[in-house]
């Protein structure tokens, strides 16, 4: 199925998030396929817009949501631009899920630190939902989120729910504040001053633009979080998701098969990863 055909989906809802990002809610048309489709937090799909092509997109929805798939998409290339023209009710397809996932079970009974930069919040929504579904299994959960400008902050309408219902310690920061912005200004690493970290008992998940990984992971390393407890989600060009097209190779491995989720120790051992 995933090698040639995709699952046909109907776009059931489109939520504008910012100038360039929208949240697409998809529903797999065939009920049998819908029942078969499961994924883990951190995995991605090949989004298929017939007539235009495919693009790799991280899954942004809850694993417990068996009815809909949510994809947070930035209008950036050929395929995503075509998708932005689509209206509710249109048919597209998805192949997958592909790749590795965050070890949510291993993180149980520990503190969890989620760090997102810009569109990096998209793949982090799945582990956030997971934590919300199993909140008793995790200790303190902190979420550090940085964006270039306040207008580029995504999912702001869910912040309150994450804080009060999921009991997540949320900290936001922007590089370029607007007149209305009253929060922190600066680089995402300055948010570490706002939280207390128990390094021996903390797992970290980092996702953002390529330039962010080194700064953040080096900082976490200095704080004493073991490298095998830090996870990053890497972005690369992908055409197949199956380790065949070689476009996403990093070091001697494939982002689509052995990633996109890597622990930082593996990344350190991969040439050219970050």
């Amino acid at each position: 199925m995933v090698t040639d055909h995709g699952y046909k989906c109907r776009i059931t809802n489109i939520v504008p998030l910012s100038e360039h990002e929208k949240l697409f809610q998809l529903r797999i048309v065939d009920p049998h396929e819908r029942a078969l489709f499961t994924f883990r937090p951190g995995q991605f799909l090949m989004l298929d817009v017939p007539g235009y092509g495919e693009a790799p997109i991280s899954i942004s929805s809850a694993t417990s949501n068996r009815e809909f798939i949510e994809l947070c998409i930035r209008k950036a290339g050929h395929v995503t631009s075509a998708l932005f023209e689509a209206k509710q009710g249109a048919f597209i397809a998805v192949r997958g899920p592909f790749g590795t996932s965050f070890p949510m079970e291993a993180m149980q009974d520990s503190d969890v630190l989620l760090i997102a930069g810009g569109l990096g919040i998209a793949p982090l929504r799945a582990p956030l939902f997971w934590i919300n579904d199993h909140r008793d299994h995790y200790r303190n959960v902190s979420f550090l989120y940085g964006a270039k400008e306040p207008s580029q902050m995504l999912f702001t309408y869910q912040f309150e729910e994450w804080k009060t219902v999921s009991h997540i310690d949320l900290h936001t920061i922007v590089e370029k504040p607007s007149d209305e912005w009253t929060g922190r200004t600066g680089m995402i690493t300055s948010l570490f001053d706002d939280i207390t970290i128990d390094p021996k008992n903390t797992w970290a998940i980092v996702c953002g633009p390529p330039v962010m990984f080194k700064f953040v992971c080096t900082h976490l390393d200095k704080l004493g979080i073991p490298m095998n407890r830090m996870f990053v989600s890497l972005e690369r060009r992908m055409h197949c998701g199956m380790g065949k097209c070689c476009r996403c190779m990093v070091g001697s491995t494939f982002t689509c098969l052995d990633g996109p989720v890597f622990d930082y120790w593996s990344v350190m051992n991969l040439k050219e990863a970050i």
């Binding site: 090698t3 017939p50 190779m249």
Partner: protein
């Protein structure tokens, strides 16, 4: 494996019968180069007379017969704001004649990549299952280095393999289909003398290699020399044309293209073989290129070929045919690049001070 001996005229008759009855490809002379040397390619053949039995090497490998340069993966038809996807594995049976051991080993490597792992390729499988391969041994060209890669002999990946032992061919029969075909032709069991001739032939081939590339421990070398200046040096020569990947028997990277019909009622999704030396190979949407320099891209081709990737058990995928070296317009070839890389390391050794007791 069953071994038989067949006379050369009888073998030719066997090949002739096979290619007349099936869609077949074999080595044919297509042109001559500027030195007057013949240029061979795997081309369609309709009889044994069209085949160059004594060919040296083809410019391109036989890869494109199993992995076409352009391959349609699926079709979409659009109607009433909806679409249907149609996938066909159109792979008529073909006979592939005259493959050398290194080319057969290359197909074995492609089998490893395409048919193993979590996502076997149904497109490749359809073609591979329908391909009948007849291999032939040969004396190497001066720049072949398959022996260095241990790919100058093969014991699987073919239906029949013919070794030249003078007046006869020594046949290794590796499939029931081939065995049944050969029943109609006159063959005999190998005698002790035939076995000796085969061993002599093997020795001769082994001793005929003039090019040796030292690949022992190369995966570690490549890791250690990741930031070596030699990549920039060779990268500066590279024209980013991708010729090396096109003629290579084991390069399998690809690009995807979508072609919308002008009537807007259908579109086709095509896979196109690509090269990691092409500029946009690792460029993502938004314009960020993970490998912006020539040297970075060239290094990755060597990385893939001589270090291997996890997907193919980290085995080296180069078979030492040197087609890339012959075809490169900039004169880049594996032997020189690898030797350069090793000299880089050896030059470090010369920097080590002698121990105090020796000075």
């Amino acid at each position: 494996m069953i071994y038989k001996v067949i006379s050369k005229p009888e073998f030719r008759a066997f090949v002739d019968a096979l290619v007349r009855a099936n869609t077949s490809y074999g080595p044919r002379q297509v042109d001559t180069d500027h030195n007057g040397e013949p240029i061979y390619q795997f081309m369609p053949v309709a009889s044994a007379d069209e085949i160059a039995f004594d060919y040296t090497v083809t410019t391109s490998s036989a890869k494109h017969l199993l992995m076409p340069f352009r391959e349609e993966l699926s079709k979409f038809s659009f109607k009433d704001k909806n679409w249907d996807q149609e996938v066909e594995y159109d792979a008529p049976p073909i006979v592939l004649f005259g493959l050398r051991p290194c080319d057969i080993n290359a197909i074995n490597i492609l089998d490893e990549v395409m048919l193993k792992g979590p996502y076997p390729s149904p497109y490749y499988l359809a073609r591979r299952k329908n391909t009948f391969i007849i291999g032939m041994d040969h004396l190497p060209l001066p720049d072949c280095f398959c022996r260095s890669m241990n790919k100058h002999t093969t014991d699987h990946g073919f239906n029949v393999f013919a070794s030249d032992i003078g007046e006869n061919y020594f046949l290794s029969i590796n499939s029931s289909k081939a065995f049944n075909f050969l029943k109609e032709f006159e063959t005999s069991d190998p005698t002790y003398e035939d076995d000796c001739k085969l061993i002599e032939r093997r020795k001769l081939i082994k001793q005929s290699f003039k090019t040796n590339v030292e690949v022992t421990g190369l995966p570690m070398f490549l890791d250690l020399e990741f930031d070596s200046p030699i990549w920039e040096k060779w990268g500066d020569k590279c024209l980013n044309c991708g010729t090396c990947a096109m003629v290579c028997p084991t390069c399998y990277c690809y690009n995807m293209e979508e072609h919308l019909a002008t009537d807007l009622e259908s579109s086709s999704r095509e896979k196109r073989l690509y090269s990691c030396n092409l500029i946009d190979f690792a460029e993502v949407t938004g314009g960020h290129n993970f490998r912006p320099k020539n040297g970075d891209r060239l290094k990755y081709r060597y990385y893939h070929h001589y270090r291997g990737f996890a997907v193919n058990d980290n085995q080296q995928i180069c078979v030492g045919c040197n087609r890339c070296g012959r075809a490169c317009l900039a004169g880049i070839n594996p032997k020189d690049v690898i030797n350069d890389l090793r000299l880089e390391k050896e030059s470090c050794v010369t920097c080590v001070l002698p121990s105090p007791e020796k000075s």
